[in-house]
């Protein structure tokens, strides 16, 4: 009964999406207030019904209702409760339902928190989101119904993929989806603005907090995914350039460019067309990501069973969204006036450079990800693009990005005197080069120019952010003043920028050191035998068999000592899940600020011998710490007070000509 209720709620939600897509939009064009007024309640209603459907599926999992095919495939009576809930989005149908729920959630959030938006604009934004929702709702109902029944009812469920039974992965998809789907808000604002023909600083100010929040979720989602891969896949890697990882990284890069370009549009009224294009791009790449993951055209750990009908549906949907929005752009964009002028050396130019670099990196990643598909389609052979290529592409462009990032906060909008900037940055540059040289010297770690470069870049960022803070601090007096400045308009944005950019510095150190100075060894050990790696002695103390709730595990004991100190005792496991009979590696990790020690079990080689994989990973935590800092920075920026106080229509920044040079550090 409950599953039918869920199914019915989904159908109702699709009907409401149709209403939302048609009436408010037509009403906004024909100026019919009653139809415009439909937008808000319809959006909220749609969310309620989708939530009901989702709750029904959760209920089916919690009560082990194996008459529902999806629950029978992915549920199990022995699953711990938390994994029964995360099993809801553990496979195709349920994760799409989660996607739809989040989409209606974002729509409702826009409906509720945009009270200051003119009714016509709001109606159009919600209406566009309704159109996107039609696509996903019909995809769910017509190709991937999560409530389909199965007969005869199996006595036990097929269990959740053991790989997904990890706390990190329980929350990774919802976070990632919040980000993916959140891009639909920026997209809808852009489309609504194109329809209305009004692209100005006010529009940028409306879009900006939404985009930033979505970007924060995307950042958290990617960071969590990387952390999960490190913990769970058992070979110590934190990023694989797997097509599905790229699927989340491509919209992230576009969104990062968008977040920065929106700053220019809001502050200076420039880059309008470019910002709109980036909004369309970010959401299109989110959809492309969904297509890559859900259609199974690219194989990876994440892709579920391939189904051509599903692939085709998403492909058609993708072409409608991308083609339609580009057509609208081509039609409307020429009417958009160009914004404020700026000199060759100005913050605008630097942000333009940032956008250019991010888009170029993004384009290469799209190329590398889609190349296997293109080669296959053209009959050129079956290929895959090697891991090193992606890394090279990323590493070549990032230093330029960081150089610009250091200059940005100290450069004025519109016009910057080069001599003055040089005077300011002299110290930062000297300190950065000195630090880089010291870190790159052969006395430490045998010398590595990569480490030297990474340290130089991080110190460069650190120094320039310190200079910027000091400049800003000149007008502040004491802690109370400083706290007040945080709450001022623009304060959140500014400190958010500082935290996020510091996060980048931490991240750079993390990836470079973890890549350059990692040591790993696959070894064969008998009980009692030790192996020394990076000065740590790993002693293998044998394997015991232990039961788990839905698996049996061979649990190894490894004692790590350094000199005479005992550092840690690790218990990596090799689990065999009872239902799916899959072996799973659960690594043992000793976490540290400056290094991780990581052990994963290979296989039993007879006579109590095991093959073991040992890792020494310096600074690997810094990678995720950087990711978290970037996310926190975004959150601070989104919470900026200026988004919450009454918006003056046509904010002062719309007329850049009448405004004197803004002092650097005062605004972002």
């Amino acid at each position: 009964m409950i599953p039918e209720l869920g199914h019915f709620a989904l159908i109702l939600s699709l009907c409401l999406a149709l209403v939302l897509a048609i009436f408010p939009m037509v009403g906004s064009l024909t100026n019919t207030p009653a139809w415009i007024a439909l937008a808000r309640p319809t959006a909220i209603g749609q969310f309620c019904f989708t939530l009901l459907a989702f709750a029904c599926l959760v209920y089916a999992f919690l009560t082990n209702d194996f008459s529902v095919a999806y629950v029978a495939q992915n549920g199990n009576t022995l699953l711990p409760t938390i994994y029964k809930i995360s099993a809801v989005w553990g496979a195709h149908e349920g994760s799409l339902l989660l996607w739809a729920l989040i989409l209606t959630g974002w729509t409702t959030a826009v409906a509720l928190f945009s009270r200051k938006l003119p009714d016509v604009m709001l109606a159009r934004v919600l209406s566009v989101m309704g159109m996107v929702s039609i696509g996903f709702m019909s995809f769910l109902l017509f190709t991937s119904n999560p409530f389909a029944r199965v007969f005869p009812v199996p006595a036990q469920g097929g269990d959740l993929n053991p790989l997904l039974q990890d706390p990190g992965l329980a929350i990774h998809p919802p976070m990632l989806y919040m980000g993916y789907v959140g891009m639909s808000v920026a997209f809808s604002f852009a489309i609504a603005a194109l329809i209305g023909g009004k692209l100005d600083a006010t529009w940028a100010r409306w879009t900006r907090p939404w985009t930033t929040v979505a970007w924060v979720f995307l950042t958290i989602g990617i960071t969590l995914g990387s952390w999960w891969a490190y913990n769970e896949l058992g070979w110590g890697g934190w990023w694989f350039w797997d097509p599905v990882e790229n699927a989340s990284f491509m919209p992230w890069l576009a969104a990062t460019a968008l977040v920065h370009s929106l700053a220019v549009t809001e502050k200076r009224g420039a880059f309008k067309r470019w910002t709109v294009l980036l909004s369309l791009l970010a959401f299109s790449l989110s959809l492309l990501g969904t297509f890559l993951v859900r259609s199974g055209v690219l194989t990876s750990v994440h892709s579920f069973a391939a189904d051509p009908a599903r692939g085709l549906f998403i492909l058609v949907f993708l072409s409608i969204v991308i083609g339609g929005s580009l057509l609208l752009y081509a039609w409307r964009a020429p009417d958009v006036t160009s914004g404020g002028r700026f000199d060759l050396l100005s913050r605008e130019t630097l942000l333009l450079g940032n956008n250019l670099l991010l888009v170029v990196i993004d384009a290469f990643i799209v190329l590398g990800t889609l190349a296997p598909l293109i080669y296959d389609a053209m009959g050129w052979g079956k290929i895959s693009v090697g891991f090193p290529w992606f890394t090279t592409m990323f590493v070549i462009f990032t230093p330029f990005l960081v150089l610009i990032m250091g200059l940005g906060p100290l450069t004025r909008w519109k016009h910057q005197d080069p001599a003055q900037l040089a005077r300011q940055m002299k110290i930062a540059l000297a300190v950065a080069i000195a630090a880089g040289l010291i870190a790159g010297l052969p006395i430490l770690h045998g010398g590595s120019w990569q480490a030297g470069l990474a340290v130089a870049l991080s110190v460069w960022l650190l120094a320039s952010l310190t200079l910027s803070l000091r400049q800003r601090g000149r007008t502040l007096d004491g802690v109370r003043d400083w706290l007040k400045s945080f709450r001022n308009r623009g304060g959140g944005s500014y400190y958010g920028m500082i935290v996020a950019h510091l996060g980048v510095a931490v991240f750079i150190i993390g990836i470079t050191f973890a890549t350059q100075f990692s040591q790993q060894e696959d070894v064969r050990l008998s009980p009692g035998q030790s192996y020394t790696l990076a000065g740590y002695a790993f002693r293998f103390d044998g394997v015991k068999s232990v039961p788990g709730p839905n698996y049996r595990a061979d649990r190894g004991t490894i004692t790590i000592t350094r000199g005479t100190d005992q550092v840690a005792t690790l218990h990596p496991e090799k689990r065999t899940y009872t239902v799916q009979t899959k072996p799973m590696t659960e690594s043992g990790i000793d976490i540290g600020v400056f290094r991780d020690l990581y052990v994963s079990m290979g296989e039993s080689l007879g006579d109590g011998d095991w093959s073991l994989r040992l890792y020494y990973k310096p600074f690997v935590r810094w990678i995720w710490l950087g990711g978290i800092m970037i996310a926190i920075g975004g959150l601070l920026a989104a919470l900026d007070r200026r988004y919450r106080i009454a918006l003056q229509p046509q904010a002062e920044t719309a007329q850049p000509a009448g405004k004197q040079h803004l002092a650097p550090g005062v605004s972002t």
Binding site: N161, L163, G234, T299, V301, D343, L344, T349, L356, V360, F364, L367, G368, A371, G381, K382, I383, S384, V385, G386, P388, W389, T392, M393, I396, F397, D522, V523, R524, T581, K582, P583, M584, T585, S600, G602, E603, L605, S611, R613
Partner: protein
């Protein structure tokens, strides 16, 4: 041209040149990093280059997995039922590596005909078959090789 315009033109030209050079290098590197896929039949026919990183795939022949008695080097055969080739790998095999299962290996073909893998991939689903392997089996079957029908339901 006014000085300002000239400045802007210079900036644009510099950007175009920069992006062009970058794109050139990127595409060159791209070509060097392409890994083509070969079936055991193609390797037997001598189509696979030696000394370049390639991917090979097939089903692990039952009873062919031999581990050196002390160490981590392992030898096994992969087959597409028309031809069989030997793969050598040193290290820990993935969790789902089993005899009779489809796998893909990255590595180099040595002139003496052994394939030395630096990475072996088995997917995280025992019902899953790498599409390249599935296609290879299909082709081999069409070409008249006697393919057994008992492959655990993994035949496409």
């Amino acid at each position: 041209m006014t000085p300002k315009r000239r400045q802007r033109m210079l900036l644009i030209v510099a950007m175009v040149i920069g992006v062009g050079i970058a794109a050139g290098f990127a595409l060159k590197a791209f070509n060097e990093n392409l890994m083509f896929f070969y079936t055991p039949s193609k390797v037997a026919a001598g189509e696979a280059p030696s000394g370049r990183v390639i991917r090979v795939g097939g089903l692990v022949t039952k009873g062919s997995v031999k581990r050196e008695s002390n160490g981590l080097t392992v030898h096994f055969d992969i087959t597409d039922y028309a031809h069989t080739m030997t793969v050598q790998y040193t290290g820990i095999l993935p969790d789902l590596f089993r005899e009779g299962q489809g796998i893909v290996a990255h590595g180099k073909l040595h002139p003496d005909g052994t394939f030395v893998a630096d990475e072996v991939l088995a997917k995280h689903d025992e019902k899953y078959m790498p599409p390249e392997v599935a296609a290879a089996l299909k082709t081999a079957q069409k070409e008249g090789a006697a393919a057994p029908t008992t492959t655990g339901g993994t035949m496409p």
